[in-house]
């Protein structure tokens, strides 16, 4: 595993200085400490996971039993919620998954490209009004979405873009997620400047410095951006609610809410089942994506 890169075994230093007995005791202690760490981590993980497990358990029960029976244990496994939930709405649930996927992939590409370009300018270039622009960028994430969404809707409605994915993807292509710009700025500032200055002396232009020197070093930041964009866009309800109207364009969060109703009752079984289904892609992306975080070191550490 690449993780081990960071702590290479150092066989050569120990024995010359320490006695055998001390060494054995040390390794015993180390094993004890490792075990303790696992126990603590597993305990913490169980606390973290209880609600998630409860949701999975609930999705395997008939709706009318969910709130009568608080335990995690199942008498028998009932998969009918999954079957019902998948086909309960006007389109099969796969349509909503696909729509969400389109929006998410567009958003990730948009954020990766546009935010890293902007971050390079803010972190490495010296230009007029830099501090002011940077402040404006920060202010743009301080304004709550609820008051800008109405004027945004006006614009997109004029352009006939409502009910398309454009209002959801275009802003990402145009680096409006200042969170990620700032994140990448901080990462780039953590990369020694000598590297790009060396490249500049070799005659590289900014585009090459950015693409060939910095980008490879920013893999952890890019992976973070991709993962977060995935998760946040995947679970974003409000903007998708406002901008998408036709059921065939609905995304997963909209579809899941379609099981809920306060006055006539929520169909919890299918709702939990589809919530679990919608968690799977995110969980997988995280499992795979965090390997990229790890691969990041191979590049950084290898230099």
């Amino acid at each position: 595993m690449t993780t081990e890169l960071r702590t290479p075994p150092r066989v050569s230093e120990g024995p010359s200085r320490r006695s055998d007995r001390a060494l054995r005791r040390a390794s015993g202690e180390a094993r004890g400490r490792r075990l303790l760490r696992h126990v603590l981590l597993i305990l913490a993980a169980m606390v973290m996971l209880y609600p998630v497990l409860w949701m999975v358990a609930a999705s395997l029960r008939p709706t009318d039993e969910i709130f009568r029976d608080p335990s995690l244990l199942l008498d028998d496994i009932d998969l009918s919620n999954y079957a019902d939930g998948w086909s309960a709405l006007s389109h099969p649930f796969s349509v909503y998954l696909l729509n969400s996927m389109i929006v998410v992939i567009g958003s990730i590409l948009g954020n990766l490209v546009s935010c890293s370009l902007a971050a390079y300018a803010f972190a490495r270039l010296d230009f007029r009004g830099k501090r002011v622009w940077f402040a404006i960028m920060l202010v743009s994430i301080m304004l709550p979405v609820h008051v800008v969404i109405v004027p945004q809707y006006f614009i997109y409605s004029e352009l006939h873009w409502v009910n398309t994915f454009i209002p959801l993807i275009l802003p990402k292509l145009l680096a409006t997620d200042a969170f990620f710009i700032f994140l990448m700025v901080q990462f780039i500032r953590g990369i020694p400047r000598q590297l790009d200055e060396a490249a500049r002396i070799d005659g590289c232009g900014h585009l090459r410095i950015f693409a060939q020197v910095l980008l490879p070093l920013m893999v952890p930041a890019l992976a973070t951006t991709a993962i977060f964009t995935f998760i946040w866009v995947w679970s974003d309800f409000f903007t998708q609610l406002i901008f998408l109207t036709k059921p065939e364009k609905y995304t997963v969060p909209l579809a899941i809410r379609a099981f809920m109703d306060v006055s006539s009752g929520t169909n919890w079984g299918p709702m939990f089942a589809m919530s679990v289904v919608s968690l799977i892609p995110v969980f997988l992306v995280f499992l795979l994506g965090q390997r990229f975080l790890v691969r990041g070191i191979a590049t950084t550490g290898g230099k």
């Binding site: 973290m48 270039l125 609820h146 292509l173 145009l174 700032f182 500032r189 900014h206 965090q290």
Partner: protein
């Protein structure tokens, strides 16, 4: 402290070595910023200015806005619910942000290396953040902090009778703070990514010099991590001030019981959409911008004394 000084000196020395010509790269910068400028112009600025304009109007969404001067702003002074919202929000920010960041950093360091099954642990600890904003969380939270939830079952085991935590005005906010802290996955991932970026050579050099693990953490890892710690502090504060979804879902959109979980943006949203008073909501939004802006400015000012940049 001294470690930070050493690193600073080191980087200053290296900077003196290389020829560092100070010149402006306006043209290149604007090209790199082109998408962002376009976004600012088309996506961000117009709606922002529109909301600024709305803040001086009476605007119920169904009829065109009508200019009313500063009325929305003067109304704030007698709005008791606004003060309730500010109290709730400040409590949330001041308690949840430090807890969340400390927990995130701690687990990031633990999960950074050397434990078998790292990928699994990391994903498990991240899982809560995935469902933290989902519609199911209201129900899940009641399963834990409700009258017959997990917490009370555990308390009952020790013979302590417990009441509902989510539905009691004096404890409801604490359960939401817990929920906020529980979803510490985002800053943890950012810390993990940042830990990856620390050059191994630094740590190796320190280890050769005989620095122990704790010392290596404080004098190398932490200083090199300060830009990212700073990032997390700034953005977690901004995020906590804007915290909405969880309170919205758990309280059913009311901020109840008895306004005890009336987060600022929840109040703003209710004013704008439920009460159809987008003018007042916009005024509230700009007050929030001023508050968050002040916090952020203080953060940036303070950062000069503790954040270390290698450039």
């Amino acid at each position: 402290m001294s470690a930070l000084g050493e690193l600073r000196a080191l980087s200053r020395r290296s900077r003196r070595d290389g020829p560092r010509v100070r010149h402006r790269d306006n043209r290149a910068a604007y090209l790199f910023l082109l998408p962002w400028f376009a976004g600012l112009l088309f996506v961000t600025a117009v709606p922002m200015l529109a909301s600024l304009y709305f803040s001086f109007t009476k605007f119920n969404l169904l009829q065109p806005p009508r200019f009313i001067g500063l009325d929305n702003f003067t109304r704030m002074f007698h709005d008791e619910r606004l003060w309730a919202a500010l109290r709730v929000t400040f409590t949330y920010v001041l308690v949840s942000v430090p807890l969340q960041l400390v927990l995130a950093l701690l687990l990031a360091v633990v999960l950074d290396r050397g434990v078998r099954g790292l990928a699994i642990y990391r994903s498990v600890f991240y899982l809560p953040s995935l469902i933290g904003g989902s519609a199911a969380i209201a129900v899940l939270w009641k399963q834990i902090f409700g009258a017959e939830g997990l917490v009370n079952h555990v308390l009952a085991f020790f013979g302590v009778p417990g009441e509902s935590w989510v539905a009691n005005p004096s404890t409801a906010l604490s359960t939401l703070i817990t929920l906020g802290v529980w979803t510490f996955g985002a800053p943890m991932v950012i810390f993990l990514a940042a830990l990856r970026q620390i050059p191994v050579e630094y740590l190796e050099a320190a280890e050769m010099d005989g620095a122990g693990r704790v010392r290596r953490f404080w004098s190398i890892v932490v200083p090199l991590l300060t830009p990212i710690i700073f990032f997390n502090v700034v953005l977690q504060i901004i995020g906590a001030f804007q915290s909405f979804t969880q309170a919205y879902i758990v309280s059913g959109g009311t901020g109840g019981p008895a306004d005890s979980t009336l987060f600022y943006t929840l109040y703003l949203y209710t004013s704008g959409f439920a009460n159809l008073d987008m003018g007042y909501a916009s005024a509230l939004a700009w007050l929030l911008v001023v508050i968050i802006g002040a916090f952020t400015a203080v953060n940036f000012w303070a950062a000069k004394s503790w954040v270390f940049y290698d450039d």
